[in-house]
Symmetry: C2
Subunit: 286 residues, 2 copies
């Protein structure tokens, strides 16, 4: 069992990772090694102290160099659930589970609103994880909603299992090639069903499906971590980044506005120190 | 009356200034244009996201370039008190007063502990401000305690007024030239007197003085801002940086540990947004 798992590779996660390393804490870092998509596409950031009027792509480059320079490794995983286990938490990523005494949740905010029915059918035909649940839909018909071209490889993975994939682009439209992938023009308006998902609704038309994959860069925190207290979609934290769950800390956009790089970096830093204090406190307790 | 005054030019103040500018808020920025002394002397910072393994002096250079690039101006003033006035606050700096609807206190923490008697005799012979109070000690005998060579020019200013200056270096010893400046070997142990300061005590010896100047890079916040709620030497703030005083916000080391650049930058950023929200709220109120 590690001392800490950081979930997320935005600025909050980066800052937490750099500081955990400085504090010599043994941790696993889960997320995209390409870092947050939002950083790369930022046009120009003028108010991040130390990086004068920097483009998103230059900032992204600086972060990557720093991560490499510090010898930090990102494990390329999409997390689909965090559950309490004896002495800590288990972070589920597809078929793999990572365990640690503490967790720093730095997954950002949902850039797109949940679709009607998404939460209702979560675990009953709605999945956030192609790698985890794709095999369940062998030769079935599925709808896949994607936020950006980042998720293209997951769509292709799903297309290898499913007979038919209806692809909805939640934001800008893009192409994913595949004989059985149908790129939809309309919006994904609703997910319907009874005990399980039965169909999706788009532009008034009902399309029968066996399952729906919502491939988004960030998932609502309370869906991700069972029992996590949220308010208006944000994780409730105190000034140390502590949540209502002992050993679970949160940093960055997920804790609320302003959605700013400096705030995210600050909170990631503070969470790392709070993890350190927490680990010391449970050591004393034993 | 300005919309905001930032006090302090450490990382918290810099981040606040950059963000107030981005938010197009009219503000005055008071502090040392050489920025925080602590930044420059930092050996190596490894966990400030975006600046890989940077020396204090490189970081200092990056901040200066960014401040210049954004066209920000620092008014070179040492603040000696913040007082409520109609519609906001008056920030006193020597003979000058600056007024604003809001204040961001980002003055850092006291690097040295207060000397016995310092708080007791504040305003009764103890002063934090050479420029403000120096003229009161024409041809008198004073003790001056300094934290670093940063304050050398203020010591010289005082030596132009006073007959004799007993100079105590609170940290590393350094020289300030002047026929009437006596550099003391011993520590400044205590400030004593009756209604006013009468003497300082060093190594058991009592040295009669008429006044004592404590020239430190940061002054305890509750001494600086009348009525500000503190706890254990730190300003009590909520997650928005708000203090117990309406319109007064605090950011950086002054709000508590960890004393980290990333935390300071994050809090400065958040305070700027909180100032914006506060200004909007009082506009609506009018």
């Amino acid at each position: 069992m590690k001392d800490c798992i950081i979930i997320g590779t935005g600025v909050a996660g980066i800052s937490a990772a750099l500081t955990l390393k400085a504090l010599k804490i043994d941790f696993e870092w889960l997320g995209s090694p390409q870092l947050s998509y939002k950083i790369r596409v930022a046009e120009n950031v003028k108010n991040y102290a130390g990086l004068p009027s920097v483009s998103g792509s230059d900032m992204h480059g600086a972060f990557l160099r720093q991560i490499e320079g510090e010898g930090l490794t990102i494990t390329d995983k999409r997390v689909n659930g965090v559950y309490p286990v004896d002495g800590g938490y288990s972070v589920m990523c597809g078929g793999d589970a990572y365990e640690a005494k503490t967790v720093i949740v730095a997954t950002g905010i949902e850039a797109v609103k949940p679709v009607a029915g998404e939460r209702e059918f979560l675990g009953r035909g709605v999945s956030y994880c192609a790698v985890c649940d794709g095999f369940l839909y062998k030769d079935k018909t599925i709808a896949v909603a994607v936020e950006s071209a980042e998720e293209a490889h997951e769509v292709q993975l799903l297309a290898q299992y499913a007979r038919t994939v209806y692809l909805f682009c939640l934001k800008k439209k893009f192409e994913v090639r595949g004989d059985n992938i149908k790129i939809m023009d309309g919006r994904l308006d609703e997910i319907t069903g009874d005990m399980r998902v039965r169909a999706v609704v788009s532009g008034g038309e009902e399309i029968p499906v066996d399952g729906v994959f919502m491939l988004k860069s960030a998932v609502a925190a309370d869906n991700l971590v069972h029992g996590l207290k949220t308010e208006g979609g944000h994780v409730v934290v105190d000034r140390s980044g502590a949540t209502n769950l002992a050993g679970v800390f949160a940093a960055g956009d997920i804790t609320g506005r302003p959605y700013q790089y400096a705030k995210a970096a600050g909170e990631g830093n503070v969470c790392a120190y709070s993890v350190n204090a927490y680990l010391n406190s449970i050591k004393v307790g034993n």
